[in-house]
Amino acid sequence: MSKSTLTRRSFVKASALAGAAATIGASMAGCMQESAPEEELAGTGEGGHSSTEGLTKMKTMCHGCIQMCPAIAYLKDGVVVKLEGDPDAPMSRGSMCIKGLNQLHTMYSPRRILHPLRRAGERGENKWEVISWDEAVTEAATHIKDAIEKYGPYSFFCSVGGGGSYSFMEAMTLPMAFGSPTVFEPGCAQCYLPRWSLSKLFYGGNDQSVADSAVREIFRVGDANKTEMVVLWGAQPSVSQTAMSGRAMAELRAAGVKTVVVDPNFSPDAVKADVWLPVRPGTDTGIILSWYRYIFENKLYDEEFTKYWTNLPFLIDPDTKLPVKAADLFPDFQQTTPENTPAYVCFDLKTGAVAPFEYSTPADSAVDPEIFWTGDFNGKTYKTAGQIYKEEAEPWTFEHAGEMCWVKPEKIEEAVKLYAEAGVAGIVNGVASDMMESASQVPLGCMGLDSIMGYINKPGCTMTQYGKGNQPTTRPVTFNNGFAGMFSPMYGIGAVVGLSDAENEAWARGEETPVGKADVSQQKLANQLLIDRLGMKDHKGLYAWCHSHIPTVRNAIATGEPYKPRVWFDMSGNKLAMLGNAKSWYDVFPEIDYIIGQYPHLTSFHIEACDLVFPLREWLEEPMAKGTQLNTTWLMNECTHIGETVSHSIPAGRVVAKCAELMGGELPGLKPGFMGQATEEEVKAAQAANVGAESWDDLVNNTDKYIPFTIPEDEYFGYNQHETVVDDGLPAGFGTESRKIEVYCQILLKLARTGYPFCYPEPQEACEDYSPICTYIEPAESPLSDSEYPFVLTSGRVPYFHHGTMRHAAFSRELFPTAEIRINPASAAELGIEHMDWVKVTSRRGEVHARAYLTEGVNPRTVWMERFWNPECFDESQPNPTAGWRECNVNVLTKNDAPFNEVYGSYTNRGFTVKIEKSEKPANVWVSPEEFEPFLPSAEMMAEPITEDVRF
C-alpha cells in the first residue's frame, strides 16, 4: 500500500476526530511492510504519531473481524481518541488493520443505537420510538409467549451472523429454550461449517481454516516455525485478516516459505505467490483431482502414512459402499483390539491375499496393505478406497483440468510439484468452497491431499493439532452436536465417534461409558427437535451446529408448511446484506409476525423488517476474554460505555427470563436451554473466569497479571500425537470409527442414511448417499453452457470491511465508496466499458449496479465483486427508503435455490452466471467523500456521557 493512499484525507477536514483519523493512517502503515520508514515521514505531518501525553491508556483487543488482534486504546475524558496494535501480541505484533481502526468511527457513529427502539411507523419507514429496557423486554417476551401459546413452540425462530456481534452459542441455544428447532446463520453452511464439521468427521481434528484461527502451527514464532510450503486454497489472509494472519503470511513469505494460491482473483496473496492458479469459480475440485492423479501416478504420497494411518487400503463393499469389517469376511476372525477399534480388510502384499487388517503401529502390523487394488473375494468384486479415489482422479490430467478450470496445465503441474516435493507443506482451505455446491467436496479433497502426503501432526503443517492436553492418553473420540459436541452429554443426543456400538447404546441410555455419562432426561425432546428441524432430511451435516437449512426456513415462512416460523429474534448483522437472494427474504417479511433485532447500529434490515431493536455494545465497550493468538488469550476491555447498550447475550437473556415469568416460571424447551448471560455482572464474571481471575474487577485491576493468559509452548504445541501409545496399549490414532484418517469419509454414508452420528439414538430419514470422496460437480449455472449470462461471478473480501459491517465507517467508505466489479479489460472492451464506468450486473435473481474495475487479475469470463457489498447509505437527506440494498447489494444476485451441497445444504454465493452492460449511476448511491459526512462521528455522540452497566 502506498504512502499516498494511506495519507489521503480529503474528507477528514469535516471530522471531529481528525487526530484520531491521522492515527489510522499511521497504524495501517505499520501493518504493511511496504510502508515508508518513520524517519522519512518526520516533519511531514504524516507520521501519525500524535502525542499520547495526558491520555488514558487501556489494553484491549479488536473485534473488527473474527480474528481478534490485541490493541491499545487511548482515551481523553472517557472518549477513545486513538487506537494502535499491541506489540506484545505474538501474531499481529502491534498491527491493526483498517477494520479495527475504524472502531473510532463506528463507536461514535450517528447510526449507533443507544437505547431500545420500537418501530413507530410501518416496516420500511425509518421511524422509531425510544422505549425503556423494561418495556422492550416485556414487549418482545409477550410476542414470543403469545406465539407459542397460539401456535406452539415451533413458531419461534432465531438467527445470527453478519458480524458486529458474535452470538453463536446464544443463537444456537435460544430456540432450544423455547422448544423450537429453528435457527440459522447466513454463515454456517456458507461459511466455515463444511470445513469445520468435515474435519471432525474426517479425522476428529482441526480444520484447515486460517481465518477462523484453526490453523496455528504454521504461524509459530521464531525457530519453532518449520513451515516450508503453504497452499492458500480459496483464502486471502492479506485481505481478510490483514493484521494477524495476513501479516504472518507476509512474514512467512519473507522467510522463504513457498506459496501456491488458488483463487479466481489476483489477490495480494496471489501477487506474492510462487504460483497463482486463477481457477474458474466453482471448479476447484477439478484441480484437486488432478493433484491426486499426479501424486498417485508418480508415487509422491507418503506410502507408509497412507497405508497405516489412513483408511485408503480398506476394501469397500460395492453394495453398501462401506469398508468391510474383518468379521464380515472372516467369520472365524478373532479381533485382538478393543471393540471400539474395529479390524477392517485389505489386500495384503505379504501374502498376496485378502486379509484382516487390524489396527496397530505400522511396525506391528501383520499385513502390508495395498492402497490400490481391485479383485474378487468370495465371488464379489471389491476395490480398496484408494482404488476408488484413484479412478475418480484418473480423468483429471493437467490438460483436462486446465481446460475445465481455465488454468494453464503447466501451472497446475508447477503448483503440485511445489506442494508434493516439499519436506512439509499444508493446505489452507478458505471460505470460497463453502459458498458453492461443492462445499463438502473441496475440504474432503484438501484434507485428503494433506493426509496422503503425511502432512499431519508434523512441525510446519496446517493439519497439526495443538492445545492444552495435546498428548492423548486414551483412545481419541469425537463428540458431536454443537461446538465440541457439547449437546451430546447435555441432552443425551449424538453418538460419540470412537466408542463401540455397545458403548454408544449405553451412552444413549445414560449409563456409564469410557467417556462418562450423558444426561438423557430430555433426550426425547432433544432428539425430536433434531428430526423436525427444517431441511435436515437432506442436509444432515447442518446438525453439527444445530442449524436449520436457510432456504427451507424461508420456504416454510412463505408457505406455512410443515410449520410456520413466525416470531424472529435476530442476533446480529444486516440480513438483507448477508442472506443469499436477499429479495426472496424481503418478500417473506410480511409473513413474519414479529421481528426482534439487536445490533450496535441501524441497518437496512432493521429499517425494512424489525419491529423492535435492542442496542448492543461496540467492541470498545464489550467485556470479553477469549480471543486467542497461538497459545495466548487476550482481554477485550470495557474501555468506555455510552448509552444503554449491553453485551450481546443480554437481550435474549432478559427476554428468556421474562418469558419464563409470563409462562408461569417454566419454558417449554430444553434445560438449561439458553446458554448466555442475562446481566452484565454475569457476563463479566464469565469472562474473568476464562483467564483465571477472581472477578472482573480483579481482572481489570491486574491486567498484566492475567493477560495474556498463556499456555506454555511445550504444553500447547505437540507432534505425532497419533503415534502416542495410550492406555489400551495401542497408538492413539484419530477420533474416527476406524481410528485412522478417513480419507474415504465413510461416516458420511451413515450420516446420509440415518443422521448418524448426530441424530442418535432416534434416526432421521434417509436421503441420497453423500459422496465419501472428493468428486467434480459442474456448477449449476455454468459459463460453459450459459449463453444468456456469459460471465461467471465470484466474490471475496476487500480489506475495508468484514462481513456486513463497517459500511457506516466513513473512512472505509471513502476508500471503497461503492460496489465494484472486477472485469478483464478485454471483456470490458467488447462491451464498451471503461475503467470506473457504471455497469448493471444481472443474474437470474435480480440486478444491481457497480463500478467496473478493469484488471488483468481476473479471467476474461470471470468477474469478481466484494462478497457482502451493500451500501447502508440511508440518511434523512436521501429519499431512498431501502438504504440502497436493492441497488448495490451483491446478494440480490446470489442463488439460494437447488442444487445445494448435499451434506450441508450450502447454496451458491459464488460461481453463478451473470450478464453485464454499461449503465448510468443509480440514484442515491454515495460516491464522493463529502457524501459520507453523515457517517462521521458526531459531536453529540462524542459528548455522550459515560454510562454504567444497564441494571436489571
Binding site: 418501530r119 410501518e122 416496516r123 420500511g124 410476542h143 403469545d146 401459546e149 397460539k150 401456535y151 406452539g152 415451533y154 413458531s155 423436525d532 432430511k537 437432506d538 427451507t552 420456504n555 412463505a558 408457505t559 406455512g560 408448511e561 410443515p562 410449520y563 410456520k564 413466525r566 424481503y586 418478500d587 417473506v588 417479511f589 410480511p590 409473513e591 413474519i592 409476525d593 414479529y594 425494512e608 419491529d611 430419514e765 427508503p881 431501502t882 437447488a898
Partner: protein, 248 residues
C-alpha cells in the same frame, strides 16, 4: 417441490404477494395514485393491509366496520376492542391513517349541522375559520376499500384454502366444529389432530409431517378463527361452518 404443493404455494401467495412491500416501494416511485387503475388501487390497499401480519385482521375488520361512516373515536374504540388488537404493533389512529393513505378509507369532515364539508366550502376561509367549521371527523370505506373487503372476505379466503388442499376439508371442518364447541388451547388442537393422515404432506419431493399449527394458521388467516384466551370461531367462521354442515 411437487406440482401440487408448488401450485399451492403460488396460489397462497396471493395475500403474501399483495403484502410484498415491492408494491409499496414501487408505488413510491411509480405513478401517482390517480394514474392507477381501480384494480391497481385495490392491490395497493391490499399491500398496506397485509404487510404486517399482526395488524392484518385489524385493518381488514376496520375496513368492514367503516362501510358505514364512523366517527374517529368510534372507529378507534372499535379497533381497540378487537381481540386481534392485543397483538397489533400500531395504535388505532395510526391504523386508520394507514388505511386512509392506502386509499381504503376516506375521511369525512362535517359541520355542526352534519353537512359534509367540501373543498369548495372552504374557499376563502382562514385556518382558524376552517377549524371552527369542522365539527366532526369520520371515516368511511372507499369504493376501493369495499372492493378489497369483498375480494378478501373470510368466505372467499376459506374457499380458497379448501380448494388448495381439498384433502384437508374434513379436518378443517372438524377443527372449526371443535373450536366452536368451546375456546381451545393449542395443545387441545394438537391432541385433536395428532396422528391424522392429513398432517402428512410432500414438500420438495419429501414426505413431511406438518405441525397442527398449519391448520390453525390457515384458518386464522382466512378469518375463521380468532384468539381470545383460546382459539374461538369468528362470526365468519361460524357462518362458514354452518354452511358446510348444510351442504353435507
Amino acid at each position: 417441490m411437487s406440482a401440487d404443493s408448488s401450485e399451492r404455494e403460488g396460489e397462497e401467495g396471493t395475500l403474501a404477494e399483495a403484502a410484498c412491500c415491492d408494491v409499496a416501494y414501487e408505488a413510491d416511485e411509480g405513478p401517482e395514485r390517480s394514474e392507477l387503475s381501480f384494480e391497481e388501487k385495490v392491490d395497493m390497499l391490499g399491500t398496506a393491509v397485509v404487510r404486517h401480519p399482526l395488524n392484518r385482521d385489524v385493518l381488514y375488520e376496520t375496513l368492514c366496520f367503516c362501510r358505514t361512516e364512523r366517527q374517529l373515536a368510534e372507529a378507534e374504540r372499535f379497533i381497540a376492542e378487537l381481540p386481534q388488537f392485543r397483538s397489533a404493533t400500531q395504535n388505532p389512529f395510526h391504523m386508520l391513517t394507514v388505511l386512509k393513505q392506502a386509499g381504503g378509507l376516506q375521511s369525512v369532515e362535517r359541520d355542526e349541522g352534519g353537512n359534509v364539508i367540501t373543498p369548495e366550502s372552504l374557499d376563502g376561509l382562514s385556518e382558524d375559520e376552517i377549524d371552527d367549521l369542522i365539527f366532526s371527523v369520520g371515516y368511511q370505506t372507499t369504493d376501493v376499500g369495499v372492493a378489497f373487503v369483498e375480494a378478501y372476505s373470510p368466505r372467499s379466503r376459506l374457499v380458497q384454502a379448501l380448494s388448495l388442499a381439498p384433502e384437508r376439508t374434513q379436518d378443517y371442518c372438524e377443527l372449526l366444529e371443535f373450536v366452536g364447541e368451546a375456546p381451545r388451547t393449542y395443545q387441545e388442537i394438537t391432541n385433536l389432530l395428532a396422528g391424522r393422515p392429513t398432517l402428512e404432506t410432500v414438500i420438495d419431493g419429501r414426505r413431511e409431517t406438518m405441525q397442527p399449527s398449519v391448520f390453525v394458521d390457515k384458518l386464522e388467516r382466512a378469518g375463521a378463527l380468532v384468539w381470545r384466551d383460546g382459539w374461538r370461531l369468528s362470526e365468519a367462521g361460524a357462518d362458514f361452518l354452518e354452511e358446510m354442515k348444510e351442504s353435507n
